[in-house]
Symmetry: C2
Subunit: 286 residues, 2 copies
Amino acid sequence: MVKNKAAQRSGAAQAVKSGAQAVKSEPADGLQSLRTAFRILDKLSQAHGPVGLSDLAAMLGELKPRVYRHLSTMRRLGVVFQDPRNGGYSLGGKLFTLGEAALEQFDLRFLAAPYLTRLRDATRQTALLSVPGNGEPIVLACVEYRNRLSISSRPGNRPPPHCSSQGRIALAFADETARERVLGGRLTAFTPHSITDRAQIEARLQAIRERFLEQAVDEVRLGINAVSAPLFRDADEFVGIIGVVGTTAEIGDPLPRALIATLHEVAAALSAELNCRIYYERGLVK
Amino acid sequence: MVKNKAAQRSGAAQAVKSGAQAVKSEPADGLQSLRTAFRILDKLSQAHGPVGLSDLAAMLGELKPRVYRHLSTMRRLGVVFQDPRNGGYSLGGKLFTLGEAALEQFDLRFLAAPYLTRLRDATRQTALLSVPGNGEPIVLACVEYRNRLSISSRPGNRPPPHCSSQGRIALAFADETARERVLGGRLTAFTPHSITDRAQIEARLQAIRERFLEQAVDEVRLGINAVSAPLFRDADEFVGIIGVVGTTAEIGDPLPRALIATLHEVAAALSAELNCRIYYERGLVK
DNA sequence: CCGATTTGTTTCGTCAGGAGAAACGCAGTT
DNA sequence: AACTGCGTTTCTCCTGACGAAACAAATCGG
């Protein structure tokens, strides 16, 4: 059952793979079939159409029979779908069902819906809601103006943790190990303005914990600015990120006071509905 | 690694579990850890909040260490989330991400969006879009009237295959083995009007293949009527179901000709966009 | 306050389930 | 026909996942 490490390396062509594993002696690694199964699913989700078994095996640096066993079990379970014509594999309906169930358990999306549209209408910009998952944000909802060229993200997307406003807020309130995992790895720059210097990031995280606000000007795409604020539940449990994205020209840099006030008001109100009054206690909104 | 069958049986308290396995000698069963992993995820998705390890193990009829190993690997992968306070497990963000990716690969939702609203506006009823998965329908989208008491389903839901309009259409065009799997199992009735007689169902499936239309009056809930039509791509590949739901009183039984015409026109137009002109070839729409 | 119970977690020896090499059948090309 | 690619299957061997039992850390109850 030993895995051929050389073969693995050969297949590690494409980059990304955010989770750069930690320094030494990662002791526990869990059930191996589950890990490979989800590596397969990840690859399938990155692909844009059906993928053949051989391609998939090559991309993963695994042998065909192994990948085949996993795929065929998952096919039986409805987790992946196999095109009967050419045998290509793609993600299956069960994943969609599970994903929707997961969303429901977050339950934040439903509470947040009215606040998102309020934020959109007040700012006349696209409003975004995310939840943190292991120190990185996952976009839950995106409401934009219709009938207008709009900047938008898609539910399920994961903005970069280190150089996006949502990402840094997620990092700021993540636990130490998750933060270390992200900041310990390579921090890629998406534009010349992306912040990749660790000390600089840590400083901003500290500022976020005090001001409950972060922006990212031209960091993920040139000409795009995003502003976000954290959401809390109960005493001070961090549960999400709300914010707006738009062109840097429209949003303005430095941020207009009115925009900050609006964002903080919405974040405070939504947090209040979750039984957390920290925005008021800190005097960030009156 | 042998599984304790007696223990399994003891845990089979709850019913449902649609897939009644076939007659004899199911030869291949696939990787066992994957099967248990997805059984765990299914249970978690059925629960409404976080579930403790012991409860989960009991519900599945498995031993704690086994469930624990699976859960802890999936936690590491971000597939499940563990509440740090009480140790309860729930579905994680990665599933949501994968689910959205799966949805994207269906890609039908995006094409269908304008047709759905058109159908809703023309019929003044909630419009539904589903895709078939192993002979059962999975709801992809549901557009309803705002500001009005509305009948609606949710994305990710799976209407019963044998006694819903979407379900029977999915069955009608499913392959023989999937149909057998569904119809071979127990067919539960949700209302006194639910059709559960196999011969009767087969007759309707045959009618669907000719008329490209099916309705289910009071079958899933009393007072609710649904009408659906199949969607095709290319020559005659079945790819989805589109339809409307509303109260039986509003929709009418027998169906008004105008409603049938509208539904068929929309289904034909959407199929045509997918490069299939079968509705026109059959003379179902002019 | 302290035993009693129930959590989630860990250890450990054992054996069957999953691994890899190779072959298979079947397309479409040359 | 020989060749190439594919998805699938078979086989044997060894290791990684299994279950029993012990563990630690909360929670409970009086």
